[in-house]
Amino acid sequence: MSLVVVDAGGANLGSVCYALQRLGVEARVSADPVEIRAAPRLVLPGVGAAGPAMARLHSLGLVEVLRAFDRPLLGICLGMQLLFEASEEGDTACLGRLPGRVSALRPAPGLRVPHMGWNRLRRLRDSVLLAGIGEGEWAYFVHGYAAPIGPDCVAACDHGGPFAAVVERGPVMGAQFHPERSAAAGRRLLANFLELGA
């Protein structure tokens, strides 16, 4: 078993698993703390709201497991937001693997929320996840909340202001966009993650 996808109740489990299959990897989907604790690497997907997602992780006994997990961990979209200390969405305490607080994108004239569609990645520094992904490559985003540009941010994106598009702090990683739906750039990011420690 090379990979476990955490079943945090998000609706995009299927599409994440299919993207991994296209890369030749059969992921195991699990909500079992024992199996998740033992995984060589984890993907934490998520579509939905921070509060219900954290409540589900608590009820499954997964919060401490995810806080202690020291092998590669990739959060996707809401899954990435859960890696931070807290989210403004429902004023939710999150996993605290990365410093910072997720906040709402604010609508403004000409600026729609949710941020939905293809936007460019702006590279801030070299990283494992971004290997082979060029400056300005397109990625598909769908989200109403975002993490700030902190020390762990390796690629930014802009929607009314900069926010963290890709984060990396040792084995703890995240993509705010949907790699499973981001064509070439998404495929490359997932492949980079799969190569870690392989």
Binding site: A11, N12, L13, G14, S15, Y18, A19, Q21, R22, V47, G48, A49, L78, P107, G110, R112, V113, P114, H115, M116, G117, W118, N119, R120, W138, Y140, V142, H143, G144, D158, H159, H178, E180, R181, S182, A183, A184, G186, R187
Partner: protein, 258 residues
């Protein structure tokens, strides 16, 4: 900067993609997977699959093709048609769709929008609106447009419905201007601009695309976030790479074609 999206719409009937004019006279176009991959390769930013017979026939979307498409596609796609409950939406999303679009069932029971937003987040919830200008000059919504024999005019004004749908939790609006649909005479810029003025969420133009200039007008004059089209792409009258080149030449931000 967020790019403007180009979205081919594939009408699905009995597991095949079909095309029609003004929602009538459907002709089989081909297999769902073949067309999905063709448009992905050409640079479509997203696809909408509209099960045009599900809602009028009162049945749910066939999940088998949703799953087949989800396995193949590495761009987002939305499924519309016949979704009338949280459980049906969950099944479609779990099969791999990124978004679900509701139309007639939301008109009949608007709370459905709130239930979907609560369960999956508003970013998954698209509200499709079929709208037609009536003799008194008001735009009003239509239900059951997938079946001309059952299409019903409702007293609800389109702009009122757009406001209510957003208040309930719509994350995106697809406004299909029925007067323009299928005849390739251009998007209904006046109606789209009026809708834009009341839409804080992404707005997708639908109905009337016939050439690249129509897309440019919808983006420039009505400031829509995305433009959906069917027959202009299916017929080969316009291909997406040429469309995107034309839009980019006019300074409209679009995702580069590979």
């Amino acid at each position: 900067m967020l790019s403007r999206r180009i979205i081919p719409c594939l009408d699905v009937r009995e597991g095949r993609v079909v095309k029609g004019v003004r929602f009538r006279d459907h002709v089989v176009m081909g297999a769902i997977e073949d067309l999905a991959l063709r448009y992905r390769d050409e640079g479509a930013d997203e696809l909408v699959f509209y099960d045009i017979s599900a809602s009028p026939e009162g049945r749910a979307v066939d999940l088998a093709w949703v799953e087949r498409v989800a396995r193949l596609l590495d761009i987002p796609f939305c499924v519309a048609g016949g979704i009338r409950s949280v459980e049906q939406a969950r099944a479609v999303l779990h099969a791999g769709a990124d978004k679900v679009s509701v139309n007639t069932p939301a008109l009949e029971r608007p709370e459905l929008i709130a239930e979907l937003a609560e369960a999956f987040g508003r970013q998954c919830v698209v509200v499709g609106v079929d709208s037609l200008r009536e003799p008194d000059g008001e735009w009003r919504v239509r239900a059951y447009t997938g079946d001309p024999g059952r299409t019903r005019a409702l007293p609800r004004r389109t702009l009122d419905w757009l406001r209510e749908a957003q208040r309930l939790g719509a994350g995106e609006i697809v406004l299909n201007c029925m007067g323009a649909d299928g005849v390739r005479g251009g998007y209904d810029i006046e109606q789209l601009a009026a809708a834009r003025a009341v839409c804080g969420v992404p707005l997708v133009a639908s109905g009337g695309a016939g050439k690249a200039g129509h897309f440019a007008a919808a983006f420039r004059q009505a400031d829509v976030d995305a433009a959906l089209a069917a027959s202009v792409f299916h017929s080969g009258a316009l291909c997406i790479p040429a469309l995107k080149r034309a839009l980019r030449a006019q300074g409209i931000e679009v995702r580069d074609v590979a």
